[in-house]
Amino acid sequence: MAKQQREAGRVRDSVSPSDRAIRTRVRTYLLRHAQVFFGSLGRLSKTPFSTFMTTMVIGIALALPAGLHVLLQNVQQLSGGLDSATQISLFLKTDTSEPRTQEIVKRLRKMSEVRQVDYVSRQQALEEFTRLSGFGDALKALDQNPLPSVIVVTPALRHATPDAAERLLARFKLFKEVDLAQLDMQWIQRLYAIMDIVQRGVQILGVILGLGVVLVLGNTIRLAIQNRRDEIIIIKLIGGTDAFIRRPFLYSGFWYGFFGSLIAFLLISLAVNALSEPVAGLALLYRSQFSLSGLNATEVVLLGGTGILLGLLGSWLAVGRHLRDIEPT
């Protein structure tokens, strides 16, 4: 019985050691990484002021392009709503008869590209002008109403974008009763063009500031390497590999990037929060449902990922450049 147990024990031992050894190795490897990972965080917390300053610089550098991106998104959303304000005014020739005009209005209403048609007769135009301008008396002096009748066409939403509206306008111009057709959206086109330029500008700014983040971090890590020169020398003396020495610095870069993006996120959230109330008030004045939106989940992940990536890149460059220079003698 006792012998059997011994045998069983021996069999178990002879099978498991390598297995156990591998598991121990993996566990040790992960444990050491975790230790260095959080150890580098602990090291940063030992110099709170300089860590805060560096993180803040990175946070602001990330917040600028990301914040402008948020602003742009909001403007885009707002201008999307403005498409519905696109209108085409058709000024009819003064000699167009009333029945003919009504026919045209009917025809326009049947078009699928058209959402709404408002007709302002010459008489109505005159009354409105008199009421709004106060020059009614001057007009009375004329023996004839000089104002044309106007058909105001609001395109369906699908046809309200600058290009589609432009095509619609071209068709209306071919009507022989139409004296003048005017698209009421040049300012939206300009807005779109400006936003395109601003967007490109934000992208360029993002690249430049990203480069700045890499340089700031590279310099910070360079200083950290110099501060730990003795330690690096000793570790090299007792057989530490470059990877082992590099690790804590790379993890510091990770943390800088992580906290930098966190600060950027907070700054943007604060700004959106501070602006949302006045913006909502303004929107109310225009009877708009518009409300300011901040970063969505994807953008938050993207911001964090970018920060961490830049942090790793900066420290990787610094480590690659400076660790080689430190050799024991």
Partner: protein
């Protein structure tokens, strides 16, 4: 274990620190390296630890020609060599335990194994009670013993020491040398640079004498 064949070392600037050095240290042998200051003792040890490269000739350690060792492989060579310095080279922001544990952490030992081996090493140098102390709280002799514990903690087959007793009084010096003898008795190859001739002759091991970079005397060539 350690073989020098016609080794020259010329430093940048043209100074010949070692000239035509030949010797062989068998596995498990213990020897002293002596000579005046500037004779090239440290340089010779640095060649073994790959802190410097020979300008000419060959250094072979444990069957490995160091000429052929790439930069990337250097750490793995050094893990087989325990090095002890006159200035201890301890990390002052870490405890005695953590200092001694460093070579094991570098090699990826598990926490259990690290604890066991560090305590065994500290026990050998008689510093078990000080494992939680910081180096500044220790005397010079104790700091040196921490350095020794760190050098032997991963049981390297070779132990090098550069003036390990340089700053210690005679009594402590002898104690440290006795410690090296103990490691030698369990099979470690030991090479100690020292100019403490009195102590060396008292120990009665092989003595290699350098004079201006040349090996001028070898009391027990093998």
């Amino acid at each position: 274990m350690i073989r020098f064949s016609n080794v020259n070392k010329r430093y940048t600037g043209g100074y010949d620190a070692l000239v035509g050095v030949n010797f062989h240290l068998a596995p498990g042998e213990m020897a002293f390296l002596t000579g005046h200051s500037g004779a090239g003792k440290s340089t010779l040890l640095k060649l073994i630890a790959l802190l410097e490269r020979a300008s000419r000739g060959q250094v072979v350690i444990n069957g490995q020609n160091l000429d052929k060792v790439s930069r990337r492989r250097i750490p793995y060579i050094r893990r087989n060599i325990g090095i002890i310095f006159q200035d201890h080279r301890l990390l002052f922001d870490r405890t005695v335990f953590d200092n001694v544990a460093l070579p094991l952490i570098i090699s990826g030992f598990s926490s259990n194994e690290v604890g066991r081996r560090v305590r065994a090493a500290l026990d050998k140098v008689n510093l078990l009670r000080k494992e939680k102390s910081y180096p500044v709280m220790l005397s010079g002799g104790e700091q040196q013993r921490v350095g020794i514990a760190r050098a032997i903690v991963n049981k390297p087959p070779i132990l090098l020491a550069d003036e390990p007793t340089g700053n210690l009084d005679p009594e402590l010096s002898e104690e440290i040398m006795k410690l090296f003898e103990q490691f030698n008795q369990v099979g470690v190859t030991v090479l100690i640079a020292s100019h403490d001739l009195a102590l060396i002759s008292q120990m009665g091991h092989r003595v290699l004498t350098l004079t201006k970079g040349k090996l001028t005397q070898d009391s027990g060539a093998s």
